[in-house]
């Protein structure tokens, strides 16, 4: 068998295999058209096999005719494939191309119209025939159709990116192999006596073309050709050298040994060279993959959701150089995925949200791995619309739950998202999922804390209000008792005093009656006055009022007095010595601030002082020490031109060193849980009130078992 015949056989077998693959696995019209192309190639292959193997001119002529009958459809079916692939309508030209083919088939019926039976025997093995004018016209048309195909491919790859761009490149470059290879078979027909080795290229072209059309995840074309080149070189050496050695030396045993050794190390050499070459070719890709993997490790430490998502899209867009990167988050409450972060030109393209019912989401939730646009079924792609042709989608899943997903546009350099990219993004997605879960938990904790803080605050206010309400009740109770008592006195008087009772005794009884009535009336008046004071106190304190601070000037002594009274009610203190609050200095000072917030701060601080004293008395002192202990809460108010300083000093149990740092933390308390007031929120509010709202300062000094002094500094009112 000649080499030329072998090439023909190789082409025929390859093409037939490809036809079977396309028929079984092909899903689209494009695949069917390409299958027809491969049928043309198959026919060409059979024809050149017969022509290459022919021992008589007649058989050779038959072979060449057969090859031309198939070959004449290669160009129009290629053009048809290109047009379908590019999505362009060229019906007339396609029909023209196929018509040339049909006309040629018809003309073959008439002998000597296409090929003359003048033959020459070239290369000691192949019969060649000269072509007629029709032959050259057909070839010209054929060449024109091929040129048109390339024009369309060129236009297409200019405006497309990603997989389609890569496919166009594959088709274009591999077609060159085929057309050049196939053309080489015709050279001797036109007087150029070059052996048609290039015929093998037709098979290679068909294989690469089919790969490009069928495979979703294409290798970068540079990588593909590099690997192919390295493969050919390495294995040509592995197979060729031992064979050459054996041929030259006739030492076939040694030749076999060499082949065995080289065959063993061959794969290692191939892998090594491939890796080195790809490190150079894919340097850019490997750079950003390493960068993304490193960055994704750090993601888990970002507690803020918005920052995390913005960081993710920024990193991807920057590192991978995509048109855009968008992050969507699952909003289970609203049954949709919401766009949370976007970088790049995707604003006109990516929708602001996807509902759970959207076909794209239904498809997404069947995928656990990243996927490219082309992987989606047509109906899903249609549901997105023509504008949304993303490059890659990366779902973010944790324990089977879809937290969200990333959408990336095409890479700016128009290369594909490779298998390595997908692996990298899978790792990125796993880390992002964990980071998202962290953020969600942090958000929840923050919300819970806020709710708790608010409810504690309300409880605090409620506690103060409850104390006031108790006072109201007692005062009202006193009114009622007094009134009741008067009624009873009158009742009794009337019952005891009959018509017959006159004179001194009557007068004495009457005086006694009025004295008693008077006494009760005094009590009524006193209680009414007290109620007025309480109401005034409540209005001044304004426990329930609108948000925002209201600055005013007021006497600090008034607030301290009110706080002291409310605290004595709260702790049921009758004896002032039990809660001895003394304003040592600055009694008449006027301070500038929000009355409620300052009141709250004073109230909380004195409350803490009282409880520190109580703790000392109940748990730390014994016997005489306890008996002789005199509790003290001393308040000093010192003013200068710019600020007011308030000191609240107690001689309670003090604050231990290990507790100092946490004094102002929310929910921190050393009070036993059995005590109603031990919420631990008071000092947090004090700090917030003074420092955040008044731009003041709060600090304390304390000594274990000696006492604590809290200091507040408030700015004075700016003079006009």
């Amino acid at each position: 068998m000649t080499l030329f015949a072998l090439s023909g056989l190789f082409i025929a077998v390859t093409a037939l295999t490809l036809i079977l693959i396309l028929v079984i696995y092909g899903r689209k019209r494009l695949h069917l058209i390409w299958a027809f192309f491969n049928l043309s190639v198959f026919t060409w292959g059979i024809g050149t096999f017969v022509a290459g193997n022919a021992t008589t001119p007649q058989l050779a002529l038959f072979g060449w005719q057969l090859s031309l009958m198939g070959g004449v459809f290669i160009a129009p079916s290629f053009y048809h494939t290109v047009c379908t692939f590019c999505g362009i309508e060229r019906r007339k030209l396609i029909i023209f191309g196929y018509s040339i083919g049909i006309i040629t088939e018809i003309l073959f019926i008439f002998k000597k119209v296409i090929l003359l039976d003048n033959w020459t025997f070239l290369f000691n093995s192949i019969y060649y025939f000269k072509g007629t004018i029709f032959y050259f016209v057909i070839m010209l048309c054929w060449g024109g159709i091929v040129a048109l195909s390339y024009l369309e491919l060129f236009r297409f790859q200019k405006i497309n990116k990603g997989r389609q761009y890569m496919q166009a490149l594959y088709l274009g470059y591999s077609a060159l192999f085929g057309f050049i290879g196939g053309a080489s078979a015709h050279l001797p027909s036109v007087g150029l006596n070059i052996y048609p080795y290039g015929n093998f290229g037709v098979a290679i072209y068909a294989i690469i073309g089919t790969y490009a059309i069928l495979r979703l995840h294409l290798l970068d074309i540079k990588v593909a050709f590099t690997r192919a080149g390295i493969f050919l070189c390495v294995y040509a050496f592995i197979l060729g050298f031992p064979f050459y050695f054996g041929y030259k030396t006739n030492l076939w045993i040694w030749s076999t040994v060499f082949m065995a050794i080289l065959a063993t190390v061959g794969p290692l050499i191939y892998n090594f060279l491939t890796r080195k070459a790809e490190n150079v070719i894919l340097a850019e890709q490997k750079r950003y993959q390493a960068f993304l993997l490193k960055a994704s490790d750090g993601m888990v430490h970002e507690p803020d959701m918005d920052k995390l998502l913005n960081l993710t899209v920024y990193l991807i867009k920057r590192a991978v150089r995509t048109d855009y990167a968008a992050a969507y988050l699952n909003d289970a409450g609203e049954n949709k995925y919401v766009l949370k972060a976007l970088r790049g030109s995707g604003r006109q393209v990516v929708p602001p949200e996807f509902s759970y019912d959207h076909p794209f989401i239904k498809y997404l939730e069947t995928r656990e791995e990243p996927f490219i646009y082309e992987e989606m079924p047509d109906n899903i792609r249609d549901s997105l619309g023509n504008d949304v042709k993303f490059g890659l989608v990366v779902p973010s899943i944790i324990k089977g739950s879809y937290l969200g997903f990333l959408i990336m546009g095409q890479k700016k350099n128009r290369t594909l998202f490779t298998e390595d990219d997908i692996k990298t993004f899978k790792i990125l997605s796993n880390n992002a999922s964990m980071a998202v879960v962290n953020c969600l938990q942090t958000d929840r904790i923050k919300k819970d804390q806020e709710i708790l803080l608010n409810s504690e605050k309300l409880a605090l206010i409620g506690g103060m209000a409850a104390g006031t309400a108790h006072q109201f009740n007692n005062r009202l109770n006193a009114f009622v008792l007094a009134a009741n008592s008067i009624q009873m006195l009158i009742e009794d008087f009337l019952a005891e005093t009959g018509e017959g009772l006159i004179g001194k005794e009557f007068m004495h009884k009457l005086h006694k009656l009025f004295d008693d009535i008077n006494e009760f009336l005094e009590k009524i008046i006193w209680n009414v006055r007290r109620t007025e004071e309480i109401i005034r106190g409540v209005m001044n304190v304004s426990l329930f009022r609108a948000e925002g601070i209201t600055m005013s000037e007021f006497k600090i002594a008034e607030l301290i007095d009110q706080a002291a009274r409310m605290l004595r009610e709260k702790h049921k203190i009758k004896d002032e010595d039990e809660l001895p609050i003394t304003i040592v200095s600055g009694k008449d000072e006027i301070i500038y601030g929000d009355r409620l917030l300052i009141f709250e701060s004073i109230y909380n601080t004195i409350d803490n002082s009282y409880e520190a004293i109580e703790e000392k008395i109940l748990y730390k002192l014994e016997g005489d020490e306890r008996k002789n202990f005199k509790p003290e809460i001393k308040i000093r108010v010192i003013q200068d031109d710019t600020e007011t300083k308030i000191e609240v000093a107690d001689n309670g149990v003090g604050i231990k060193d290990e507790n100092r740092k946490r004094v102002f933390a929310p929910f921190y308390t050393t009070k036993p849980s059995s005590k109603a007031s031990g919420s631990g929120i008071g000092t947090y509010f004090v700090k917030r009130n003074i420092e955040e709202f008044h731009k003041g300062k709060v600090w304390f000094e304390s000594e274990d078992m000696k006492g604590t002094t809290f200091y507040f500094v408030l700015p004075r009112k700016a003079k006009a």
Partner: protein, 113 residues
């Protein structure tokens, strides 16, 4: 015995009950109440729930240890507290809700004469 930290209440109740011919002792906190109970063994005790030192129900518990048959009536301003205590089957003889109706006090005193 009248136990209430509000002196006005103690005075008003005392006057009314005294008019009905009873002797009355009053105090303002739980500890003193217990001492006075031990000393005087009153026939009826009107006990405020929220008093200093020992709370009303604590005083009741101690009174029951001394005399399980003693007549004790809680005086409380809170309906909720009364309901809660009823639910707990606290061994009290009755409740008087504030603001106190003196006629109710008189009725209780007359019933237990």
């Amino acid at each position: 015995m009248i136990v209430d930290d509000e002196e006005d209440v103690c005075q008003a109740l005392a006057k009314v009950i005294q008019r009905k011919g009873f002797e009355v002792v009053t105090c303002g906190d739980g500890e003193t109440a217990l001492e006075m109970f031990k000393t005087h063994r009153p026939d009826i005790t009107f006990l405020d729930l929220y008093i200093p030192k020992l709370k009303g129900w604590q005083v009741l518990e101690e009174i029951r240890k001394i005399d399980s048959g003693a007549k004790v009536y809680f005086v409380t301003g809170s309906h909720d507290d009364a309901e809660k205590l009823k639910g707990k089957n606290v061994p009290v003889n009755g409740y008087v809700l504030k603001p106190i109706d003196l006629s109710e006090i008189v009725k209780i005193v007359e019933e237990n004469r």
